[in-house]
Amino acid sequence: MHLATYLGLQHVASQTLAESFRQVAQGHAAEPDVFTDCHHLARMCDEHAARLVPLTERYGEQQDDEPERLHADGLTGVRSGGVGLLRDLQDLYVLASFVDITWTVLGQAAKGVRDRDLIAVVDSCESDTQRQLLWLNTRIKQAAPQALIASGSTT
């Protein structure tokens, strides 16, 4: 059964997303909303990772069996300026999308094994992840025109 593999995958991905939100928060601290909101969204991911712990214990987390390429890479560093912020938010969007579809995968399997605990966790975490995507989408839309059209090379 590969459910354990995917639980492990999502556990790591949630931690990676949390860390990436924190990186963007710190790297763009001069944008107060990015700083505050990214920290807030990072805490949401922490909570997801924590809620997966008892489930990985139930099914056995099998991180090591899976090729590394299935894991989502976190941000390696943050960029600067308006375009840099945009690109970093896009990277977060890609990562959060990966987490989002992984909830979908887990949700399908959870129903298959008729695990009500897992279904409840997936439902609630998936809705959080979708809020994260909504926030990223909103902030990207706001930043895009000014960053692409009006910001200089150093800003």
């Binding site: 909101d37 809020r131 995507l133 909504l134 926030w135 909103t138 706001q142 025109p145 059209i149 200089g152």
Partner: protein, 852 residues
Amino acid sequence: MADRIADIWGTRTPHGRDTAWPVRVDQHLDPSVREEDVDRWVQSACVLCSNGCGADIAVKDGQMVGVRGRAVDVVNHGRLGPKGLYGSWQWSRTDRLTRPLVRDATGQLVESDWDTAMGRIVARSKELLATDAGALTHGFYTSGQLFLEEYYALGVVGKAGLGTPHMDGNTRLCTATAAAALKENFGSDGQPGSYSDIEATDAIFLFGHNMAETQTVLWMRILDRVHGADPPRIVAVDPRTTPVAEAAVATGGVHLAPLPGTNQAVMNGLARELLHRGWVDEDYVSAHTLGIEELRAIVEPYTPERVEDISGVPAADLRRAAEVFGTSERVLSTVLQGFFQSHQATAASCGVNYLHLLRGQIGRPGCGILQMNGQPTAQNTRECGADGDLPGFRNWANPDHVQELADLWNVDQLVIPHWAPPTHAMQIWRYCEQGSIKLLWISGTNPAVSLPELARIRAIAAREDLFVVVQDGFLTETARFADVVLPAALWGEKEGTFTNVNRTVHLSEKAIEPPGEARSDLDIWLDYARRMDFRDKDGAPLITWSGPEEVFEAWKECTRGRLVDYTGLSYAKLRGGSGIPWPVNDDAPEGTDRLYADGNFPTHDDVCESYGHDLLTGGATTPQAYRARRPDGRAFLKAAPYVEPPEVPTPEYPFAFTSGRTVYQFHTRTKTGRAKQLRRAAAGVWVELSVGDAARLGVTEGDVVRVESPRGAMQGPARIGRGRDGVVFAPFHFGYWDQPGTDGASPDGSPRAANELTITEWDPVSKQPLLKLAAVRVTRIGAGEGPAPAPTTTASAPADPAAVPATVGGPDAESSDQVGTAPPPHPAPEPRSPDHQPGSGGRTASAETTEG
């Protein structure tokens, strides 16, 4: 005669529930002028708070010499407050700007002429428009104190002429959360309640609203009920012991004093109590709302004990407040800066809306919500598109709404900046800081005192690559940073209309000529439009108006069919009688006293002003997701969990700092600081400490203390006040324009502006800055010169009344207040058809489908 400095609220005219509020006509004239010497009285309404009291301006020899309340006006029934009586007119012949100023070769601001000043603006504007960044280089930061016609003209200049999304006002600091909360719950901006609800109500909840000081005439209206038969109970939510809090205790209500930043926990706790105690109108909730199950799940953890842990509000007090809300036949709520400028502003203000929805307490006499404004014309900034909204409460994410404006203005839809969310004020300043906005046009506001983190704001305003235009009546702190200063005509010196908190529109006539070469803000923007030669898509001039009445007529067309419907109004209709609340149209020719009598809200997807947001993050709901919920006239019950504020006290900064207002001053005192009675009554800044904190710090009344946050410092004499331990308060009114030893713009070593301390942070939905919350430390510097200059008459009263002489006005503050000289005016009639709210969403295709 009354001294309205000492006696802020004047003579009581008590009356019982469901009886009319008696008339009392308040008047103050310059002591050298007798009533019979006044040449003429000119119709207007007061602009020194958001209440919108009808007032006549006394004119003698071409000068304003006093003011009198209009007995016929539904807003005030003749009354005026101290700011209006003394502060309305005395500034007019003081140190006004009379000629445009420009920078000379040495960088000094020097007097110039209109052609030179406007020529410089237009040259810079055209130069920037020719770059790749185009209109994205232009930002406009306006006010909540100009007239409707000025905002609409500015809106058209910015949105159809230039096409910049960077337009906002200081309304972002004042009233953005009111608008945001109304949009989130009801689909559109638009005040549900009416002041006339005070006459009919059984309980009044004031959430973060020190009404006794900020809207004195509205508070008189409440006091007259409190002193009459069947008085309403008052509940105050405020960390300070305000006159409102005292009234709460006196009327058998309750005063909740949450720690700054914890309002959301209190609101969730109140909602949980209503749900658990069965104080819910199940029929109303099922017929007229969406989201009850989500709300129930979110508020369930907020037991009174948990709320006490978070906020410090005793569990029994929370239960008592919920009981008053849950068991009173009619409940009226008001909300202001204690919520709007605090943490989780929109979520907490939505909390007030959902309490009313849960009990079905909306749309009936006595059951209302007043999401207040701070400024007199803030409502118009929101309506007219001079802030981050499209004119007429249109939805920038709805292509049909944008097309309506494109058709109205005859411009390409793509010119109208709807391809990104409108840029909120704090983000405009950030783009200036980053250098991508290169022209910032500031009108009628003083951000160098009123915005958070002033050192940062001064640094941005002083940037070499930012061309700053300031349009004002005075050389404010902000004006001293400008490249071009334009002298503006102010209230009484120009004609126009404006709209108050409860949608009442007033006409303000021109009483006197502006000083020197000063021009109205409208004339300035029309001149800019002419010089820029903005064209519509057929090559004809975009803007052809020459005066305010023409703009008003154009605005009426912009509102046709919207909730904010002005089509039944005209200057002629507004002249002579009372102000009239919108919507005013064929369905409601005499206006509309309160909205949503039919429980039909403007949430239809083709009507709504916004598709809504996640209250916790501000993520915007997609149009598809919104439609899928099929709101179709139902209101949204929206809640959010409490989350910890971004800045909390630490061992290094152990106090929670909150800023606010005093009854005698308005904003950055440009007008009230020039009225001698008001100036004396609150002459300078002070720092309020609780008795316990002062004792621990070794501070006594009047000692000079320094308050420091991670961002800056301010200092002033200490008032040992009546606040709760751990909370420090200072008024935000005081800057540097009249402070000796400074350059009039910045502290120069003696900082006294409260916003030196505040944090650059905003609410995720309304984007309103978090001005009410900073962590600070307090140090005693030395002994002062007597007691702090804090008034004794209000929330800043000393803990020991004997320690400080009482605040009085003296002989030149004498005013008359004559009771019962005329019958009370009647509020606007109920709509002709009780099932149909004029201007509401019931006429759309989706609604017809639902009803069919």
